[in-house]
Amino acid sequence: MTPLIIIVLYMSLLLSLGAGANRLFRGTSQDYLLASHSIGPVLLLMSLFGTTMTAFALIGSTGEAYTKGVGVYGMLASSSGIIHSLCFFVVGVKIWTLGNQYGYTTQIEYFRDRLESDKIGLLLFPILVGLVVPYLLIGVISSGGVIQQVTAGAFPSFFESTNGGIPRNLASLFVCGVVLIYVFFGGMRGTAWANAFQTSVFMILGMVTFYVIATKLGGEASFLENLRKASQAVPEEKLIREHIPKLAFFTYMLVPFSVGMFPHLFQHWLTAKSAESFKLAVVAHPIFIMIVWVPCVLVGIWATSSLAGVPPTVRQNDVLPFMVKELAGPLLGGFLTAGILAAIMSSLDSQFLCIGTMFTNDIVLHYAGKNRINDKQIVLLARLFIIAIVAVTYGFSLLKHRSVFTLGVWCFSGFSSLFPLVVASLYWKRLTKTGAYASVLAVLVSWIWLFSNADYGANREYLFLGMMPVATIFACSTAALVIVSLLTKPPSDETLRKFFT
């Protein structure tokens, strides 16, 4: 019961943040969707980091290290430290400059303008939404799973089938409800504040988790002795990368390019007060990744030792909640659960807001005409779409359960393969709208073909030509973009002047 009380208190804090942001709401759509471009360096760093670190960062990293060993850090974390900052630097700053100049709110508004094509929106919209929804599901389902795990035994007479824990579906509904309320009332400002708060929470509590688990596993007087005892009990195969193919490790470096095309990050970039605001995020992001991931990977490999006593029936994504429940007391377990939920919810909120914004701006406003809808109606529309997307996502979460985690890397691969399009649009004058169509269609066709070859994500170890599938999709996307652009009519002088002078 104690963990549940702490979780409820934590959720109440988040709701009060949303209410606080609502008091500062200026009533305009610019303020609701982009916080009136008022986000400074610290808030931008925290909201970008909180948004990119999803359920994968805490639960996924521990679970992956549990099955694959320490190589997971190099494959997923340190590569992200290099590539994410590169994306913020070469794409984020430039997008902010253009967005500030021409009033963009979404990716599709920018691409329609840059590619002189209205129809590119109709092609990109379903692809972007289709790739974000499974990403949302990962957060919704994993948050429900965490709460079910840590509340086990709290309500034995109510929830017999889940060992007395709050059932996953009910817990997911609770999390969705809280996120919906603070996004609905707080808009982008509420989301940025909540992200900053939640990022602080999961970073601090992540380190506390690490300390507590090391102390409990070691049982010695000094912390260093505990670390040694925990690590020395780990099987050797988890300390090396013998079972990770080198080509797969190398091509995994393409996966973090996905942040260059995440629609929710695009929207966060546009909230910055100035281009200078990006500097702190570019520098601190790799360091923050290290602070969060190194302890999680160590906890993951410690879980494989006989000291931890994790039964083989525990699923990969339940390793961290299991360790927390078994090794921390109920009070600390409650706080640590709040930390895990913070990592999950700090991504969910941005994604919900972003899809609501895309429906409002890219579909309704674009086709109904901006002049026919006033600013208050735009805010109302965005809020209604946010409610709808939360409801639809929750509905999907009831249908799919176990395979959704395997979709994570496929979602990232899709976004990564669209990265050549955004880079070419910013730096290559010769990119044509036909080249862009060819690139997007090449991504679509190669992604579907490889996804079906991988048994629709069920084959988690699937490689194509010994490489991660993203390498092939990325290559198809780039080749189609370059070849077709060179064979077709260049953009007009007016467009080139607008974007390259």
């Binding site: 320490v70 190099g74 290099i82 963009y104 920018y110 303008d113 300390l239 160590l298």
Partner: protein, 63 residues
């Protein structure tokens, strides 16, 4: 200096592939797997490299 910083970024991405500690199970300080320590060092080096990039490669100030 600008080219030097971008060369550093590329060098970092290459060194990140780490062929030195692939099958080395040494525990540095008795608890830290050497492969993990190497990549944690890469994260730290990335922070320093990006700091240099913001100093020397930052774009000049300009629906």
């Amino acid at each position: 200096m600008k080219q030097f910083v971008w060369c550093l970024v590329i060098l970092l991405a290459i060194v990140h592939q780490d062929v030195w500690f692939w099958n080395d199970s040494t525990l540095v300080f008795g608890f830290m797997p050497i492969g993990l320590l190497f990549h944690a060092g890469i994260s730290l080096a990335a922070g320093i490299t990006w700091f240099l990039a913001t100093k020397f490669c930052w774009p000049k100030p300009v629906g």
